[in-house]
Amino acid sequence: MNMDELKLEIKKIIISALELEDIKPENIVDSEPLFGAGLGLDSIDALELGIALKKRFGISFSAESSDNRKHFASVDALAAYISAQKNGETK
């Protein structure tokens, strides 16, 4: 899966896992923050998104909260983290 496909997949997961209404993948800007400003997701969304991504990509998030805040910052950050984790596995 290339980066663009991965990002699209992540957006689809965000929308379906969080049951966001009226939003299409193209409405989500790759570099925009997911939490706070931008999409404005909340802490419950963060928990659920983490679970959905874990299920879909089989990745795990670190036990260090500051790292996770970084990974969840935007679609770009998530994609980078997931592909890094995936590559780490195949090596």
Binding site: D22, K24, G40, L41, D42, A46, K55, A63, S65, R69
Partner: protein, 716 residues
């Protein structure tokens, strides 16, 4: 170095004894040999005895060698004192035992010598071992810290190296000590005293920075405005002239706490006294008036509440460390994750736990986990294996923890959570552990009663108003004082433990020039959330003409984000011509609610009503009218719903509800019991397990007509 010297000394002593024994053997002098037991006692007396003077005591050295955690235990001073006593007891034993051994040498015969040194001495030694073991277990069980509330601390209240808080896992060993706390409070007080503001807004993610600032503000007799919400609009509203703003969140126009605490050293000064009943702590909640509301609290009540919790669960706290996933700007988080552990001398975690995976790393020590139901639910719901936590104790508050989640928490995390019932106005007032029943037991001294509407009234030392506090919670009170909660009576709703007044959200929306009217309601399907129905003003209609609905939603969401936390921002939006209301002007809540409920679109002219819905299961009612084209071409003389139509309906409903795609050609199985006749009211139930869907058609009486399975492309 010191150790190796001691080892040499020890080796010399042992060498001396062995030599003595050899001399006795070689010379064959039994007389010398009989002194041997006395010499051994003397040797041990010296070995143990000298550690009483140079420390740490011999028994402590043995214990610390065996159990590495003693070195960083909050009770190491107490353990050391106990070990010293035990060392002393052993020294006395060696003196007495050695003396008897010595005297026995001068007996008439060797019989007594042999009996005592060969048997009795060993029995006595064994008894002492066993006795000490029993005493140790009792002492360990009662090992506890001292309860010294924040308002009564002095520099010498605790040892300078006692641990206040830790980072990450306790055994990582990254600590802040009493000395650090005293030093950092001194810096903070210097800062505060140099500023004239008498009221300060406080918001701090880091619990250590938070408490340094909190304590210093009280010590400088400042008023504290605690808020979890630091959106610029909210701060603007509560920050009247003359109010300062301290945070570690780099908010605009604020003072950075980290810069002060990590700033130049100002020495260590004595903690100024705090008058607990004169402290003023304003805690912001969402009030029913529709405006940000602060509840004024005092340390006096907080500390009374803490004292009760410690009297009830102190023995559990003192065996553990505290970690929390609850924001300390809310009363429960404040009391349980910071104020209480600090007062009880229990190390607390500096950083809040923000993702469930962090729990899995906390297997190094035993913890008290301060949690909320929403977090626990998401932590355990998808887990199948125990986290392997070391006998944790879990507290939860802020919302109802369903017995199901409580049981799952017990399975995965190893403890059935203790729920605490309370509110910002009342702090903790009752508790329950749902495995023992759903009734709540009031805290000691809490007097409960009901008002005319059936709402709970509480009077207790933890509430400053002697008249007590009237909650909006409907209750049933039993003769023994326990009670059951029956729901809330007003417009305040809880969204994943965040209390929010829907009126407040409506007021904010109505203040926006593009809004004419609005109605906000609480919804719950997969999760709890708010939904907003909005009537646009003419200006709004003009502004949003031609805009996508998503863009309008985003506009209002970011507008509201200026006032509210993300969790309470409406997730679903409907734009209406008017808010449905009855002739009396009362809003038709059910009708508005229906606008947001999930709907199943009509299929071939058949309409569906959702009967029950769960995450992985749905049941709908419908009846296929005779006019429906499903019957065309099949068995004209006896119309009934053919298999292909039954599949089609089940698949279409599943696709809509579970948002999946079911391929046309796919393994499909169906088993008929009875034909489905036209116009007959039917219930279709579909449950999903991964990509496998099972459906069944039945009637109201529960009679099954057919059932089958099909598969979707992706898993749910």
């Amino acid at each position: 170095m010191a150790w190796s010297q001691k080892r040499i000394k020890t080796a010399l002593c042992i060498g001396f004894l062995v030599c003595g024994g050899l001399v006795a053997l070689v010379t064959g002098s039994a007389r010398i040999l009989t002194f041997y037991p006395a010499l051994v006692n003397l040797f041990f007396l010296v070995l143990f005895g000298h550690t009483l003077f140079v420390g740490p005591s011999m028994v402590y050295r043995f214990a610390a060698l065996k159990d590495k955690s003693i070195a960083i235990s909050p009770y190491r001073k107490k353990i050391a004192a106990y070990c010293r006593k035990v060392t002393l007891v052993w020294c006395c034993f060696f003196i007495v035992n050695g003396s008897i051994a010595l005297l026995s040498v001068f007996g008439e015969t060797y019989r007594f010598w042999a009996l005592y040194n060969g048997c009795i001495a060993y029995i006595l030694m064994g008894l002492l071992f066993v006795g000490e073991y029993i005493v140790r277990k009792v002492v360990q069980k009662n090992m506890k810290g001292d309860f010294i509330p924040l308002t009564q601390i002095k520099l010498n209240s605790r040892d300078m190296d006692s641990i206040v808080c830790y980072q990450g896992r306790y055994t990582d060993g990254v600590f802040k000590t009493w000395q650090d706390f005293a030093r950092d409070c001194t810096k903070m007080r210097h800062f505060l005293m140099a500023h004239k503001e008498t009221q300060w807004i406080l918001n701090c993610e880091d619990c250590y920075y938070f408490y340094v600032t909190f304590a210093s503000l009280l010590q400088c007799r400042k008023e504290i405005l605690l808020t979890a919400n630091i959106t610029p609009e909210f701060i603007k509203e509560i920050r009247l002239p003359g109010i300062g703003f301290l945070t570690d969140q780099k908010a605009p126009d604020s003072t950075d706490i980290a810069a002060i605490v990590e700033g130049p050293d100002a020495g260590i000064e004595e903690f100024p006294a705090i008058e607990a009943s004169e402290t003023r702590i304003h805690m912001y909640t969402s009030g029913s008036t529709g405006h940000p509301k602060a509840v004024l609290q005092r340390m006096k009540e907080f500390e009374e509440d803490n004292a009760f919790v410690i009297s009830k669960w102190g023995h559990e706290f003192w065996k553990r460390k505290v970690c929390s996933c609850v924001n300390q700007h809310h009363i429960y988080g404040l009391l349980f994750s910071v104020v209480l552990p600090f007062a009880a001398g229990i190390p607390f975690r500096r950083n809040r736990i923000t993702i469930p995976a962090e729990f899995k790393s906390l297997t190094d020590d035993s913890y008290v986990i301060v949690a909320v139901p929403a977090f626990l639910k998401r932590t355990v719901e998808d887990e199948t294996e125990s986290f392997g936590l070391k006998s944790p104790v879990i507290f939860t508050s802020g919302g109802v923890l369903t017995p199901d989640v409580a049981r799952k928490t017990d399975e995965i995390m190893g403890f059935w959570p203790i729920e605490v019932y309370g509110s910002t106005e009342t702090s903790g007032i009752a508790y329950r552990q749902s495995k023992n029943g759903l009734e709540w037991t009031p805290f000691d001294n809490a007097e409960i009663s009901q008002n005319a509407e059936g709402c709970l009234i509480i009077r207790s030392p933890y509430i400053s108003d002697p008249a007590g506090f009237e909650t909006a919670d409907l209750v049933e009170i039993f003769p023994d004082g326990r009670f059951l909660l029956k729901g809330r009576s007003d417009s305040i709703v809880k969204i994943e433990e965040k209390r929010i007044s829907v009126t407040e959200v409506e007021n904010r929306l109505n203040q926006n020039p593009y809004v004419k009217d609005s109605c906000v309601i609480a919804m719950e399907d997969r999760r709890q959330y708010l939904a907003a129905a909005v009537v646009l003003s003419p200006a709004g209609a003009e502004k949003f003409a031609g805009a996508e609905k998503f863009e309008i939603n985003q506009y209002f969401r970011s507008y509201l984000a200026g006032f509210f936390e993300a969790v309470v921002l409406p997730r679903k939006w409907r734009y209406l011509d008017a808010i449905p209301q009855n002739a009396m002007g009362k809003r038709k809540k059910a009708e508005i609610k229906a606008l947001f409920e999930k709907k199943i679109e009509d299929i071939h002219g058949i309409s569906f009503a959702i009967k029950e819905q769960e995450e992985k299961k749905i049941s709908v009612t419908f009846s296929a009218p005779e006019s429906c084209d499903f019957y065309d071409g099949h068995f004209p003389e006896q119309k009934f719903l053919p298999a292909v139509a039954q599949f089609h309906i089940a698949v279409k409903v599943a696709e809509q509800y579970f948002k999946v795609a079911v391929p046309l050609v796919e393994t499909r199985r169906i088993k008929f019991s009875h034909p489905i006749l036209p116009d007959r009211p039917m219930i279709l139930t579909i449950s999903c397990d991964g990509s496998k869907f099972q459906f069944a058609y039945s009637d109201e009486a529960g009679k099954e007509y057919s059932k089958g399975t099909f598969f979707s492309k992706e898993t749910v």
